[in-house]
């Protein structure tokens, strides 16, 4: 195998480099997926029927907690990739664990939020607005859930095999995915919550 020593480990093989490019193309497709959800959300935003509107059910506190958790987790996984590049496996694994714990906490707050919505009469089938709201938030939440399991698998591989071109490449691609989830959340925070409470 041809290993290019001038590049960080995750880019050091041609396969690894192309895996990263391929993942960016996947992220481009994910951007479009979330665009369709946002487009539907903006269209159905005031179709509340007999159900509540956004400003009646949104609460700033859980939303701020979720935002801070996800922003911090994006920061810690960035530090994890940095630690990986200076070859510090222990620090890298610690940062990835912190990231996953923050992600799990985010998910916990989001589940609380969903239960709260159902309790105040904003379940999935109440109106076009609640349907698209819960679908948009839920699609992001499902991505985070998937990311948690993916991250655990990555950590197990790094623990078992150490930092090789392959495990470094997988870890880096996972970090891209995690940062992307944070980007999507920033748009949900701005254009679903803040716009709805404005």
């Amino acid at each position: 195998m041809n290993i290019n020593k001038t590049q960080p480990l995750e880019y050091s093989t041609e396969q690894g480099r192309l895996n990263i490019l391929g993942f960016w193309i996947f992220i481009g497709a994910e951007v479009m997926l979330f665009a369709t959800l946002f487009a539907s959300y903006f269209t159905l935003f005031d179709r509340t029927g007999n159900g509540p509107s956004g400003s009646e059910i949104f609460e700033i506190t859980p939303v701020l907690i979720e935002t801070l958790l996800l922003l911090t987790s994006s920061f810690t996984i960035g530090l994890g990739v940095h630690a990986m590049r200076i070859g510090n496996k222990q620090a890298m694994m610690s940062f990835f664990i912190v990231t996953l714990v923050l992600g799990a906490a985010f998910l916990g707050v989001e589940i609380y939020e969903f239960v709260h919505y159902v309790n105040v009469g904003a379940g999935l089938q109440v109106s076009a607005f609640t349907s698209i709201l819960l679908t948009t938030l839920g699609t992001h939440g499902l991505h985070v859930t998937f990311g948690l399991f993916w991250g655990i698998m990555i950590l197990m591989q790094v623990k078992k095999r150490g930092l090789t071109p392959q495990t470094a490449n997988k870890s880096f691609i996972f970090s891209l995915y995690w940062h992307f989830l944070d980007v999507v959340w920033i748009f949900i925070f701005s254009f679903v919550y803040l716009k709805g409470m404005m």
């Binding site: 665009a35 539907s40 269209t43 994006s74 960035g78 701005s190």
Partner: protein
């Protein structure tokens, strides 16, 4: 310990917290819809750019041309989807 917290990352994190704070202005202050949306659009896209360029290392691979093309393509389609839907479903009727 210090080498684990590079200044660039810490600054990026602080900057993203500041942008979140600025976006919160639309909640705590009484603003017109246009002014509020302008603030949100600027802070959201600034944060997204910060993440992609700083934390996702988009510009450092030898494939950076292809990476930027695929991301920008995704964003252009996203903008067309959102604005086109708004035009067809909402703006076209008022």
């Amino acid at each position: 310990m210090k080498e684990l917290f590079p200044a660039k990352h810490v600054m990026g994190f602080v900057f993203s917290l500041i942008l979140t704070g600025v976006a919160l202005v639309v909640y705590f202050m009484d603003m017109s819809f246009t002014a509020g949306m302008t603030v949100l659009l600027i802070t959201a896209f600034a944060q997204a750019t910060l993440q992609v360029v700083l934390f996702m290392h988009a510009g450092e691979s030898t494939d950076k041309g292809s990476i930027y093309v695929s991301v920008i393509y995704g964003i252009v389609i996203a903008i067309f989807t959102v604005l086109g839907t708004l035009l067809a479903m909402i703006w076209g009727y008022v």
